[in-house]
């Protein structure tokens, strides 16, 4: 079943500004005042700005070739535990809770390239309802499962993601959001094949790590999930 979550509207800029004016401390959720009628919100933890990413009327992969060559995560990567010493170079973030209705089902170390150098290896956590072995990323996304990826910071944060899309004229597919104290870029992505879902991707850096979340879910759910790390 194809799902599409191509447009989102969240909160307002004014509210975010008010949150700042209220003296909130980003990343802690603590306010310097207790006189507020409404619960104070830290920047990136309260209501966000209204954003809309229209679904492109025509865009997608041309072919199976154009859809890239993808292998199962369990084939392309190494199955590990978050606590595994091989994953420790990332200092993995472990979410306080999985996305609603899902559970942690797998963790992989996935190299970007056959060089396999540490800076080119992602730690990928999969949240779903069943084992991810034998599934590609696209299949995982089609199942409604979520991907959390992270690596030591290597220059793929929010600003770089925006720049990368602008380079190919696709900046309209991105919107800036706030994740705790950090800027993040939300991207409406393309399905990898005609029957695929159109997922969102959320990319940011927290200084020590570059992170992303991918899921075919309402975009605010990705943002909220990311915020649980920092808020």
């Amino acid at each position: 079943m194809k799902r599409d979550f191509g447009s989102l509207r969240v909160g307002s800029t004014a509210l975010a500004t008010l949150a700042l004016l209220a003296g909130c401390v980003a990343g802690t959720g603590q306010s310097s005042t207790s006189a507020s009628v409404s619960p104070p919100a830290a920047l990136g933890c309260g209501p966000s700005t209204v954003v809309s990413i229209p679904v492109p009327t025509s865009s997608g992969p041309l072919t199976t070739l154009g859809g890239s060559v993808e292998f199962a995560l369990s084939q392309a990567g190494i199955s590990v535990a978050v606590s595994d010493s091989r994953a420790s170079y990332v200092h993995p973030l472990v979410p306080p809770a999985a996305p609603a209705g899902l559970s942690p089902v797998a963790v992989y170390l996935v190299p970007w390239s056959p060089n396999g150098a540490v800076p080119e290896t992602d730690l990928v956590q999969v949240f779903g309802t069943k084992a991810a072995d034998g599934l590609t990323i696209d299949q995982i996304l089609n199942e409604g499962d979520w991907i959390l990826g992270e690596s030591p910071a290597r220059g793929l944060g929010a600003a770089e993601a925006l720049r990368d899309l602008a380079k190919v004229g696709k900046q309209a597919r991105a919107a800036s959001v706030q994740v705790g104290a950090f800027s993040a870029t939300l991207i409406l992505q393309d399905p990898s094949n005609p029957a695929g879902v159109r997922p969102f991707g959320l990319y940011w850096s927290d200084g020590g790590r570059d992170l992303y979340i991918r899921a075919a879910a309402p975009s605010n759910q990705l943002v909220d999930f990311a915020r649980t790390f920092y808020c």
């Binding site: 209501p47 041309l62 970007w112 056959p114 899309l165 380079k167 190919v168 990898s192 920092y230």
Partner: protein, 235 residues
């Protein structure tokens, strides 16, 4: 301290428009995908194009591409020629039902498909060199001091440098010819005079015949001496 009690977390109003993307079925004349267990940072195809007429709504494309197996989204960069309906339904690569073939690059960056057309070649253009390769050093892409990008070249002239693909190499490359929206056995209008890839730190080498496969309805003839093999395809 976490502030999970912040009740004002993102009250989203979500519109769910239908996906208006339109796709056709694909019929590959041949595909040459796979993991070679090598560290590859360059792909070179030398195309010999043939004149043909493409029916409305059909795309014929001759892509060569480097695929980046990543959890971030299966990004890739391709370079080739097409005629007929624009690839990927992307309006940037407009339809071309004329006699010529359009040189184009396409790919996926952070999960988003893009397509970029370049010049139009004659319908029977010969020995067209199309190369995708990792640039030589940092700052190689204009305006980007970052890691080396990937360059696409036509006839040894740089067409574009993609600094947004932060991959030093890949073990997944592919080349082929295919139609979208057409029929099996449809004329595909291409011979590869040469197919080559480059392993990191090495010079280009010829693509072994054992990596060439055809789809039903097509015949592939691997020709030439060991020094210069080519691939001829025909319905």
């Amino acid at each position: 301290m976490r502030a999970v009690g912040l009740a004002m977390l993102t009250a989203a109003v979500l519109a769910v428009p239908a996906d208006a993307g339109v796709y056709g079925s694909n019929t590959g004349a041949f595909t040459n995908d796979g993991s070679y267990g090598l560290t590859i940072d360059g792909l070179a195809t030398f195309q010999m194009l043939h004149q043909l007429t493409v029916p409305s709504g059909v795309t014929i494309a001759h892509p060569g591409q480097v695929n980046f197996q990543t959890a971030a989204g299966g990004d890739f960069l391709g370079l080739g020629t097409y005629k007929g309906q624009g690839p990927g339904q992307d309006p940037t690569c407009s339809s071309n039902y004329g006699t010529g073939w359009t040189v184009y690059a396409d790919g996926r960056v952070l999960g988003v498909y893009f397509c970029q057309p370049f010049q139009v070649l004659s319908g029977n253009a010969q020995s067209q060199s199309l190369i995708i390769q990792r640039a030589a050093g940092s700052g190689s892409c204009p305006g980007d001091p970052g890691p080396p990008g990937w360059i696409v070249e036509w006839q040894l002239v740089e067409l574009e440098c993609f600094s947004n693909l932060r991959f030093s190499s890949t073990q997944w490359v592919s080349a082929g010819a295919e139609n979208v929206g057409g029929t099996t056995g449809m004329a595909i209008g291409l011979s590869y005079v040469q197919l080559q890839f480059r392993q990191s730190g090495h010079t280009y080498e010829y693509w072994p015949s054992r990596y060439v496969q055809s789809d039903p309805g097509y015949t592939i003839t691997y020709t030439g001496t060991p020094a210069k093999p080519g691939v001829l395809i025909a319905p």
